[in-house]
Amino acid sequence: MRKRPLLAIVLLIACALSACGTPAVEPDPDPGSDKPEVYGTLYNYVGTVSTLNPFESSETAGTTIIEACTIGLYEYFPNKTGDGFVFEGQLAIGDPVAKNDEGTLWEIKIHDNAKWENGDPITVDDVIYSLKQVMDPLLLTRRASQVASEYITIKGAVDYCQQGNSNSVPWETVGLKKIDDYTLQVETESFATVNDVKTQFSTKYTHLVHEPTWEACFSADRTSNTYGTITGGWMSCGPFILTDWTEGSQFVFERNPDYIRADDISLEKMVFYVITDSNTALEMFLAGNIDTVSLGAAAIEQYEDDPRLHPSRPGSVTSICVNIGNTKNNNALGNKNFRKALFYATDREAIAKLVKGVPATWIVASAIISSVDTGVFFRDLPEAQAYLPPNNGYDPDLARQYFQTALDELGIDKAEVTMIYSESSSTTKAVSEFLHKTWPEVLGPQFEFKIEGVASSLASSLRKSWTAENPNTYELAWGGWSVSLTDVANGFKVYTGWFNNKNEPHYNDWYDDLWEKANQSERGKTDNDYRLDLCFEMEEYLIDEALTIPIYETPGRRLINDRIKLPLDDYKPAFGWGWMYAKVVD
């Protein structure tokens, strides 16, 4: 009898140990079976995904998840030769067709065999309903203004989505009409190209939502909706069906046999774990639990020669935003020579070594392409390199000259500047400390430089909250824009006078005019060489003015398991890695 408790403990331990080991990885079906091209599970990971609502999602990770299980009109697909991608209809058939000479009336045909996961057919009604919801004036979703007006401005859409509860602008005035069950008509405010229309309807926030499910997720006053959230419903219709979602933990997808382009999909299943700690992700990869991992700066050296390493071009330039409206030191930061002194006092090469990055003296990030048709990167164009300063923009003598000139112009003996950085980012902290040491060394005792660590949300808020009445919310701060990788001219909008979310109080009519010519004029939309010339001009101006001081870029470095064959050799801007189109080859 006395041995029974001991026996129970032994049994308990045995039970517990039986559950030990790595998470079960189900064996892949035999590649030689009836479906040789459709098998295998991809194990991947994403960061935090709070919502799958395509109209509210703002997380990068959310895009991966949403695009796997929803459908839009246009999308990027790997080409048949495996060396590039094509921009084609997903739900749409072919390109939009212009119905007038002004380029303001368009028709888009959609497939008649698309279905939701419950079997409901997808028609133009679903497309119009989804676009209506994203621009709903009471909901006012995060993406409303982008859908109303970005690459094209849909007629009446801006007024509709911003009318609040006045009920003064009926939906019927918006330029989205049903011609028949499978034909959509789009009317724009001004001239648009085929590519403009396609691009406008290729983003995740124009993807479809399932009307009955969406309606069931409305609050009583219809001002909020829980679709695709922790408490709301969800309906898939994309390449994969979301079969299991444990919020904050994992997503499980199964191939959707009813997906219009089901033949493009080779995977039977995809599992995305939610992992926010980079070390944990690396351990998961090395243990074989996930098929890919993105390497942080600390781990790069260790895997530099690993054949599984796939680099990717950086999509943004880490820069120092300059508050040119700050009134301290007689508005020193508003002085061009003062800013140029900081520009040329920066040893970018040393910083790049510190952060395992690439020194950058430019505004347009390396991943941005000059044309979707050619796929040539903007940074690789000789014209885009011609105006870049030599020696990665590091010239201490020139910096001192600019600094002295600035002091003379400002009528001050000494300048004191403070830079804020996010405490949670070890990289910006390290670079800030480096500048704290080196800038005063270059510029001399007349330059006093302070750095101040703050919470990342506060750093972001301070950078944005300057006004004419309160211009001194910050002096220098870290920033970097992630703009369109396929539309180089569009990205320059962040320095225009009308852009509301600016980091720097920069207002220049000449610059705004350049931007409008490149993005809104008929020639800008149709003549790519002209458009690029304007882009060169805008970038050269921004570098010369040192409105923002570009410092470095961080290329992506990703380890990918040998058992995974990607549709393209490497990461492609706009297309990405193409996880959905991967094959399991073991």
């Binding site: 922790i230 709301g232 909250s465």
Partner: protein, 308 residues
């Protein structure tokens, strides 16, 4: 307790709302100024902070409305978010506490009874290590060795597991959370008990014929537990703060990650609700400890009646 909670809520609300640079959707490059204004009006962010506070309090007290998430889980009632997250975190924290208390008491008693022996020295050494090293270091080490190297446990929390499987996938984070509390209880109890063992009433107990062990178990420990109750308060909050980081390491979908995300988003209603939740837990813990005094030591109960 309610007054304390009210003060915490008031200060918390004001601090969160009055943070410099109170901009909404600051990270959104393409939202128009007009849209931002309408959104701010929708969530009352355009009103003076005291008015916002009154609206918040009225909703909370009269309708039980904690507000709506404005940035992370847009449109979802904050309470619904908390309801999904609290059980996960509390499971870890409570299991950790349940492990820590008995193990800490046991090792404290052994160290006190075997005072100045090799057992005592070894326990004291372990106590110093466990108190000095932060829990997230233990978490990283456990994850690396027990999960990654030896493959005894999953590297991250297994969301699909239930019952024993769930406990199995949470054992490493729970252990990482428990080391420090075990050490704290051990250290405290050893010191208290070592002093109690040498007191006069223990000598009397032994004189009456009780063995050393009997005297310690029946009289010594009970007397030493009263001051120990003071340790439980910071211990539980210590476990909760430790789990903020540990949840991230083990990808546990609990309150830890949520708090950091809501601050960074920023999602004011969510941050405030989490703050209230943690404050409430701390206050309830204090109350429980106060009540527990009377259970552990009847003299406190009786003394209270005499005063009345």
């Amino acid at each position: 307790m309610l007054i304390t909670l009210f003060i915490i809520v008031t200060i918390g609300f004001m601090v969160i709302r009055l943070m410099p640079g109170n901009t909404m959707y600051a990270d959104d490059p393409d939202m128009s100024a007009a849209q931002i204004e309408v959104l701010r009006a929708k969530y009352h962010l355009d009103k003076p902070v005291p008015v916002q506070y009154v609206i918040f309090l009225r909703g909370l007290l009269l309708e039980g409305d904690w507000g709506t998430s404005i940035s992370l889980y847009v449109g979802v009632p904050v309470w619904d978010v908390l309801k999904a997250k609290i059980p996960v975190s509390m499971y870890n924290n409570i299991v950790s506490l349940m492990i820590s208390l008995p193990l800490g008491i046991l090792s404290g008693v052994i160290a006190a009874i075997r005072k100045n022996t090799i057992v005592d020295y070894a326990t004291s050494f372990a106590v110093v290590i466990f108190i000095s090293v932060p829990s997230f270091i233990f978490a990283t080490l456990l994850q690396y060795f027990a999960a990654f190297k030896w493959r005894l446990f999953p590297i991250i929390y297994d969301a699909s597991a239930t019952g024993a499987g769930k406990l199995h996938s949470l054992l490493l984070p729970i252990l990482a959370l428990s080391f420090s509390p075990i050490a704290r209880v051990t250290r405290y109890l050893r010191a208290e008990l070592a002093e109690t063992i040498n007191s006069d009433f223990m000598l009397l107990a032994r004189t009456k014929g009780l063995t050393e062990t009997q005297a310690t178990l029946r009289h010594g420990i009970r007397n030493s537990l009263v001051p120990l109750a003071n340790v439980v308060i910071p211990m539980f909050t210590h476990i909760m703060s430790g789990s903020l980081v540990i949840e991230r390491i083990f990808s546990i979908p609990g309150m830890g990650g949520l708090m950091v995300s809501s601050i960074n988003a920023p999602d004011y209603p969510l941050t405030l609700a989490i703050l209230i939740f943690y404050s409430l837990v701390s206050l309830v813990t204090v109350l429980v400890v106060d009540l527990a005094y009377g259970v552990i030591d009847p003299r406190i109960r009786i003394g209270g009646r005499n005063i009345e």
